[in-house]
Each structure stands twice: as structure tokens, then as C-alpha cells.
């Protein structure tokens, strides 16, 4: 990779962090978050996939100005994926202001088994507002790279294969920046603490 674009990225991120620190004087500091705080805020991932209604979904455009949750998972996953989604649905029930201004986006990493109907039915068990996305394996891999998570890997054979995938929920504040991520093990009380703080981070 040519070092100059990388340098440019670093400068931009540093500048962003400095500006972020200035803003911190007037709005709640993100350092008080219960989530895993990123050293440098992450820009919102840019990718387009297809939603469960068959329409193209430009992630950064569709979620602009929203408190945005991005999770890569698969519906056959019994132990990690549903826990995150169930917790968010439960927490939204307690924070109506957060719910009104949030968009939860679930991207399948198992397009082979997760048809749009399967994804929709899985998400509806938690909330019919949750957005489900799929695409070709290449598009889904590109989306994971854009979001800065290692692409999912199919493990084991036969019909009962499993998939190793990023276990954390990525969250972007309404200003379009990701300040923290939420690994498996995040408690509902952590979400309840952090989401009102992140909702305050709007573009000035």
C-alpha cells in the first residue's frame, strides 16, 4: 500500500479525534462509556447490500443522522447473535427516545441459508423494525472489511456448518462516528447507560 493515503487517513483520524475532544466540552464525554471505547472514532462503514424486501440498502445513507447498530451474524447461530438482538429490543422498550432515533442493521454472513424470508422471520422475533441485509458472498465480505471487522469464515462441513464471525455490535452515533463497540457479554445495563450518551453526539 502506498504510504501516503495511509498517512492521510491517520491525519484525518487524528484531526477527528482533536475535534472530537473539543466537542466533548459541551456534550457528555464518550470516555464514560461502558462499551469498549475505540482509541480513534471510526467513520461509518460505506456499503450497499439488499434488504429483506429486495431493495438496495445504502447503509451510510439510509442510517444518516440515526443512532446506528451494525451486526454481522447468521440466523442459525443459537448462542451469540440472538442474544445481542434480544438485548437491544429489550433495552429499546425501556428507552423510547433511543428507539425512535435508532436503526438496527443485521447483515447475514450466511447468504446460502439465510434467504430474505428466513432473515425477516428471525428479526421479527425481536423487532419488525430491525433491518436485515444480504448480498453475494463478495459483497458481504466487502461490507465487513468496510466496517473494520475480520470477514466471517465457514467452519465444519455438511448441513450443520457453523460460521466464525465478529461477535461485537458496532454502534455509530448520529454524527456518523463509532466511539465504542459492544462485544458479547455486554449487559442490558451497559446499553442503558451508553445509548443516551451516544444519542447526544450529533453533527454540529
Amino acid at each position: 500500500m502506498n504510504p501516503f493515503p495511509r498517512l492521510l487517513v491517520i491525519c484525518t483520524l487524528v484531526l477527528g479525534a482533536v475535534l472530537g475532544a473539543c466537542e466533548g466540552a459541551v456534550i457528555p464525554a464518550v470516555g464514560q462509556l461502558e462499551g469498549v471505547v475505540l482509541q480513534t472514532p471510526a467513520a461509518k462503514a460505506v456499503f450497499t447490500l439488499t434488504d429483506t424486501g429486495g431493495r438496495p440498502y445504502d447503509f451510510s445513507l439510509e442510517t444518516k443522522g440515526r443512532l446506528t447498530f451494525l451486526y454481522f451474524g447468521y440466523t442459525n447461530c443459537p448462542d451469540i447473535c440472538p442474544v445481542h438482538l434480544a438485548q437491544l429490543a429489550e433495552v429499546f422498550g425501556q428507552l423510547p427516545e433511543v428507539r425512535r432515533n435508532s436503526t438496527v442493521v443485521f447483515v447475514t454472513v450466511d447468504p446460502e441459508r439465510d434467504t430474505p424470508e428466513v432473515i425477516r422471520s428471525f428479526l421479527d422475533a425481536f423487532s419488525s423494525d430491525f433491518v436485515g441485509l444480504s448480498g453475494s458472498p463478495e459483497e458481504i465480505e466487502a461490507a465487513q472489511r468496510a466496517a473494520g471487522v475480520p470477514p466471517a469464515v465457514k467452519e465444519g462441513g455438511g448441513e450443520k456448518y457453523t460460521i466464525g464471525h465478529a461477535g461485537q455490535v458496532l454502534v455509530y452515533a448520529p454524527d456518523g462516528l463509532g466511539y465504542s463497540v459492544y462485544p458479547f457479554g455486554t449487559r442490558q445495563s451497559d446499553w442503558i447507560h451508553d445509548l443516551p450518551i451516544l444519542l447526544e453526539r450529533v453533527e454540529s
Binding site: 443459537p78 451469540i80 438485548q87 429489550e90 428471525f122 475480520p150 458479547f184
Partner: protein, 141 residues
């Protein structure tokens, strides 16, 4: 009336805790399925002095396998485990993000429904467990 009360008490104790040949299984819950599969969680206590092993599970509502979720290389993975040792006098907890019994192609289950599962141990043999169906959000606070 009194007989009903006693019966209810006996039943509730049975749901909370199942003991067989030194193996006690408690807090058994099945997550209300959102997709084709779901998971069963519980705690196993081995009250004897020698180790025993969980080697499998059976239920009428699904195909059951002992699985383990684990974190490696920045990702969450899941694998089938052939057996889980429970040392003498030890407790092993099956919980979200760790050991669990994976239930494949599970029937439609309703919250608070009670499902009978047989846990197969090497020494204790089949231990019958009654697991209550709960929403994920009630299992992971």
C-alpha cells in the same frame, strides 16, 4: 386442595433441580427460538467424588448436540464437543457464550413451556431435566 398444593410443590422442586446418581442439574432454560436453532443452558453439579462426563443430550423437540462457543482471533466461533467432564464435587455451568446444548431444527416453543431433555452421562446414565422456555433477554440480563 392440600394434596394439590403438595403436588405443585413436588413438581416445582423437580423442575428446579434434577438429581440422579450424584449428578444434579439445575436452572435449566431453553432460549425461545428466533430461528431454526436455539440453545439449552443449565448447571451440572457432580456430588460424587469421581468425575463423570456429559456425552450427549436428547429431546423430542429437536436434535441436540453439546456445543461450545468461544472467542478467538477477534471472532466468535462454535464447535461440537464430544464430552464435558464434571470433576468430583465440581459444578460446570452451561451459559450463553460458552458451553450449551445446541438444539437444531427445534419445534415452535412458547415462553414458560416446559421441555423434557435427557442429558446422557458416562456414569450416571440418562438424567431427565425439565427446562423452561425463556426469552433470550430474560436469560442474559
Amino acid at each position: 386442595m392440600r394434596r394439590i398444593t403438595i403436588w405443585a410443590f413436588v413438581t416445582s422442586v423437580a423442575v428446579a433441580c434434577t438429581a440422579s446418581a450424584g449428578i444434579q442439574v439445575s436452572n435449566a432454560v431453553i432460549a425461545e427460538p428466533a430461528g431454526a436453532n436455539t440453545a439449552l443452558y443449565f448447571e451440572i453439579e457432580n456430588t460424587r467424588n469421581e468425575p463423570d462426563r456429559l456425552i450427549g443430550a436428547r429431546t423430542e423437540v429437536a436434535t441436540a448436540e453439546v456445543h461450545r462457543s468461544f472467542s478467538e482471533g477477534g471472532q466468535m466461533h462454535m464447535e461440537h464437543v464430544a464430552s464435558v467432564e464434571v470433576g468430583g464435587g465440581e459444578v460446570v455451568v452451561f451459559e450463553p457464550g460458552g458451553l450449551h446444548v445446541m438444539l437444531f431444527d427445534v419445534d415452535r416453543l412458547q415462553p414458560d413451556q416446559v421441555v423434557v431433555v435427557l442429558l446422557e452421562f458416562e456414569i450416571a446414565g440418562d438424567v431427565e431435566v425439565e427446562a423452561a422456555v425463556k426469552p433470550y433477554a430474560a436469560i442474559v440480563p
